[in-house]
């Protein structure tokens, strides 16, 4: 393994837009089946979700071992499967984590979140799993689940959701969870200070989203950053505020895959405009904070981008990892400061990248 690690240490002098930094890349693990997210464990090693349904522990030496996991209603197909693993803020003492996944059947499914307790040492298993959130209504098809999550300082959990693709108008309706970001307590309850109080969906925090694939809380700026896929064009970076309407599908910079307009409007009164746009679409999937900059990985765009906030506007600072020609599913900056990237394929990789500023 050591030999592999040494052999695969690549110095990638990626030509960045501004030539501000180069990037060194190291492969930590290989042959991961469509890895979707990664969490660094404080005792060392990583938990990686594979969309096909496995939660995998990867040791620091690169050895893999499946974590015993009981998700009887897991639905795996197309975009559906096991999504994000996120450690609780007090994981060190409680060993609690949350997992998002698609639950149900082909005819009736949506995004679910469970919490569970990771056993103290390898071989790991996830114990006492209990559902804390199910996006409703259950819908047909295996597309647009969102499923990224982040903790807020008050220990509530934000869960990003998708519009299910063919239910896009539901993103504007406050009686369901399609196309929303929801906020729940660790027990799955809707906090009293959530902005809407519809009895069927009191968890809603913001709405008008298409398919959220990046969501993080920025403690230094006390801001929530999010990105979501547009259709053909119109991938958006947004600052999420409580009760905000982000426009889908009544206002969008993208058009449908068929070339038809989804909406004639790019902006409308009451709709929060995006802070940064990707047109043509790069399909951002993964968002992390690094030294105040945003790191964004892209699936179709096959690159890692670094965005910097200059005069209240996000600007492209550099582009990296185009050399490896891989769809990139996610980027994380671990509590230790390590930058982790997942490639998206049946032979997916867990990479560690090092900026050499």
């Amino acid at each position: 393994m050591k030999r592999l690690m040494m052999g695969l240490v690549l110095l990638i002098a990626t030509s960045a837009v501004t030539q501000a930094a180069t990037l060194r890349t190291e492969i930590l693990a290989e042959k991961l089946n469509f890895p979707w997210s990664v969490a660094e464990l404080p005792e060392g090693g990583f938990l990686v979700t594979e969309r096909s349904g496995q939660l995998v522990f990867i040791s620091e030496s690169g050895n893999k071992r499946t974590v015993e996991l009981d998700l009887p209603d897991l639905y795996v197909a197309a975009q559906a499967g096991l999504f994000e693993v996120l450690l609780a803020p007090d994981f060190m003492t409680t060993r609690e984590l949350v997992l998002s996944y698609s639950c149900g059947t082909e005819r009736a499914n949506n995004t679910c979140v469970v919490r569970g307790i990771l056993s103290p040492q390898p071989p790991y298993s996830l114990l006492n799993t209990q559902n804390i959130f199910t996006a409703l209504p259950k819908k047909e098809g295996a597309a647009h689940y969102g499923a990224r999550m982040t903790w807020l300082p008050d220990a509530t959990l934000l869960i990003a959701l998708g519009d299910g693709f063919v239910y896009r108008e539901q993103a504007q309706k406050l009686d369901n969870h399609l196309g929303k970001i929801v906020r729940v307590t660790r027990n799955g309850e809707a906090p009293d200070d959530n902005p809407f109080n519809h009895s069927q969906a009191p968890e809603i925090f913001s709405y008008g989203h298409r398919n959220v694939q990046g969501l993080i809380y920025d403690a230094a700026r006390d801001a929530i950053w999010q990105h979501e896929h547009g259709p053909k064009g119109g991938d958006e970076l947004n600052k999420i505020v409580k009760g905000g309407n982000y426009g889908w599908p009544i206002a969008t910079f993208g058009i449908d895959y068929t070339g038809a307009k989804v909406s004639p409007f790019r902006e409308l009164p009451g709709v929060k405009p995006p802070l940064y746009l990707w047109t043509p679409s790069l399909a951002p999937a993964g968002l992390a904070l690094y030294k105040g900059d945003l790191l964004v990985t892209h699936l179709a765009g096959k690159r890692l981008q670094r965005l910097r906030l200059v005069d209240d506007q996000w600007q492209l600072e550099g582009e990296y990892l185009q050399d490896i020609n891989a769809r990139l599913r996610a980027v994380y900056v671990a509590p230790s400061g390590r930058i982790l990237v997942l490639t998206d394929s049946a032979e997916g990789q867990l990479l560690e990248v090092f900026f050499e500023d």
């Binding site: 693709f165 009544i250 449908d256 070339g259 307009k261 989804v262 909406s263 004639p264």
Partner: protein, 153 residues
Amino acid sequence: MVRMFIAFLCAVVGAALVGTVIQTQFNLAELTALSVDIEMSTRMETILHDLLHFGPVIALILTPTLLIAFIVARGLSHFLPKFERIWFIVGGGVGLACAFIVVDSLAPMPTLIAANRTLLGFLLMSATGAFAGWIFDRLWHPQPRELAEELPR
């Protein structure tokens, strides 16, 4: 042969134009149902945009679909020539409905054309195939009374 080619071209273009306008109205209707006001000028701009961008896509679906459907319709009209016009109309409509189903089963998204998400939308969009069948047979094999029709002065 030239007549048949022109008739086929007119059928594809005619169905693409009508199908495009139908799908635009379905999309805009969904927005107005969400209390979005859409002025007539915006509607016209949207139709024009969709004719230029969605039109070629639906024409691409229509071309092979109608080719197959019309060959089948021609075959059936050998046995029951009296109903030739009906065969082409039914063939175009059923053929396009089948094409939508096939495309949706192959495309990564559950429904490629948003207007096809509802039964009414699916039936109306499929009916543009029937319209193509009518255009084709009307131009290829016009009936005696149609030939006798005078052009408006």
